[in-house]
Amino acid sequence: MTDTNAETEAAKAAPSRLRRALDSDLFYAYRRSPVAVVSSVVALLLILAAIFAPLIAPTNPFDPASLNLMDGFTPPMEPNAFTDNSFFLGTDDQGRDVYSTILYGMRVSLFVGLAAVTFAMVLGIILGLLAGYVGGWTDTIIMRAADVQLTFPSILVAMLIFGIAKGVTPVEYRDQMAIWVLILAIGLSDWVQFARVVRGATLVEKSKDYVAAAQIIGQRPLTIMLRHIMPNVLSPVLVIATISLALAIIAEATLSFLGVGAPPTQPSLGTLIRIGQGFLFSGEWWILFFPACTLLALALSVNLLGDWLRDALNPRLR
């Protein structure tokens, strides 16, 4: 889902000049906000856990040869009835250690989320700058393309790219392919809000005297766009990017529910939740509960951070 909220709010933040001293102001505000401190610590811990998953996780759930099916459905901290093995957070239907799958799954989720947001951001900034600065037909084409993009729910974009990619990739790359398809699909459905905010801010900046001055002294449009306009639109972009990251992680989970997510042999948090929801009624609550809590902690901390960042970067709210 596109975050129109962030878009409009960030657009309002756009006119604020990027002051050199912003960093210290920001840090001061950060220290004063317990929510910001706690959520950034949680987010950082989770991100570190994901990065160092191979070192922390007791098993590698992505290696099929290491799994013992008979370990399946072991409750947390209890020995398995057949194998007598015991697992910290229990095991899932394939006998995978839930704790390890969460760590590895978070890697997939975070990677997909970060890559998708970066992709959307780069694409959105470039197209937004072009649309706003060049104007005319370039603007029309880009903004109508944005309309087309908004029309397609991300699930359709994902299916489209999935289908095409399937036709052109050899089988041994398909597992990895699913991840790139997700990145592309989520990124593609997200660029519009970046583009719109950047375009709006660019339109405003363009009419200001300093841009006119730069034009008069003969600076090239590219230089003006990157040197002068872009720094002024970065703070709303940063806010959107943070909130988009949370949205992208959730979007990946939703796509997984609709069957176009990460493959079950290399599950993301979303895939784990999709698998786990099948065991909600049967009593194996841990297969759903722990991945869901992790996703909640991750998305919530990133969301809170983005929320705080938006207020902190908007001087009129201070």
Binding site: P64, L67, L69, D93, V171, G283
Partner: protein, 518 residues
Amino acid sequence: MKRLVSAMALTSALAAPAFAEEFKFAVTTDPQTMDPHAVNSAPVLGFLNNVYEGLVRRGKDMTIEPALATSWEPIGDGEGWRFNLREGVTFQDGAEFNADDVIFSYERASDENSDTRSWFAPVSEVIKVDDFTVDIMTSAPNPIFPDSIANWMIMDSGWAEANGATLPDKEAGNYATLNANGTGAFQITTREPGLRTVLEPFDGWWGEVEHNITRAELTPIQNPATALAALLSGDVDFINPVPIQDVARLQGDPNVNVIQGIEARVIMLGFDHQPGESEAGQGGADIFQDARVREAVAKAVNVPAILQTIMRGNAEVASQLVSPAMRGYSEVAGAPYAYDPDSARALLEEAGMAGATFDLKCPNDRYLNDEAVCQAITGMLAQVGLSPTLDAMPVQNYWPELRADNFDMYLLGWSPGTFDAEHPIRFLGSTPNEEKRLGSWNFGAYSNARIDELLPMIQSEIDDTARQAMLDEVATIMQDEYAYVPLYVQPLVWGTRSNIELTQRPDNFFILRWVTVN
């Protein structure tokens, strides 16, 4: 205003007063048509068995019993079968049933536009002897013909002609797609495709009424968790299937009953027997052309462990392409492949295939827990030194992939429509032959000359002992050659509210006239 609202409520289809014997049932797939000849699929035929009837029908134990025909006998030396029709039967619109309707239904169901055409491949001619006698002539002796037409449903010729539905129309649909007029125990009063279908008992039914339903409503619910919630909360009285993992929980709930059985469907692994490159792009010859590799797969897969965990002990190991409940099941080939990972590893070493990469295709929404089973198999094959890649996909992408030969190994479930061991031989065991319509689901092109030779002999053999000997021979050949690796017989799990009594038939058809609401 209040009066207006209540007046409108009366006209609504759903606002009928709630009867004590109202029965609500939910299935995963809505029957896509009400035309009994348009689509040959279990959801459609299973549902329409409540509305339409055939000359014969299957009883609670799957045996063939009289329906619109009261008796039948072979003609001469196997030139055909004579059916004596039931008199005094009327269709739900009041028209009388007679031999003309049978002839009409034969022509309709065997037409090019019908999906049921293959049932009539052995038929050369259908002759009306008199108003209540019909001869169905076959081109070769066909001992199992009456078994093979249990789902051939009889439609009224006058009704079809009057409504412009003399032939099924798969593309555009016609009157018979949305309406039904059978001779069965129930008639359709409301049909809203994909939403609900309401049935009420047909007062003029010829048979003896066992059920006490006054109104039944079918709702498709796709999401298994939603269906289960609906059953647990009492919003529906019946769901099919119950997710395997929830069986134990439902068994502990006093308001709910679980009815379990063994389905006719055998789940198996198939191989690419054709020469050519491996799909995983290793460049070499196909690894599964080597029987030792197929044997290694058979020994590497720990079926009992899969059944113990993923299937929660609700399924049985299969040894051949049909379950023991089927006619012609081979006792000789009754021993399943044994789990022996060490020997599998040795076989792979011997064949020089250790570490070979290949691709395992699997549907993820077709069979019970199909994806989880494939995932487990991937792990087991990795443990004996193979390197499989699992490629799971929804069924609408699955069949095109298999048809395009984009696989090294694949998962398949097969339920013999005739409940006879000959059926899978025809579709899975024969060398593919488009002209003779053989081996049309034999995606891997498994081929054995002796099996091709035996099939026509099995089809026309009248003597049961001789026929069984040939079926045994085929089953043994396929087992020895590791043509397929049969895994297990898919379990059948239905869930009902505890005040419902019903009978579960192994073909997973839900028969409303066996339901009692207490």
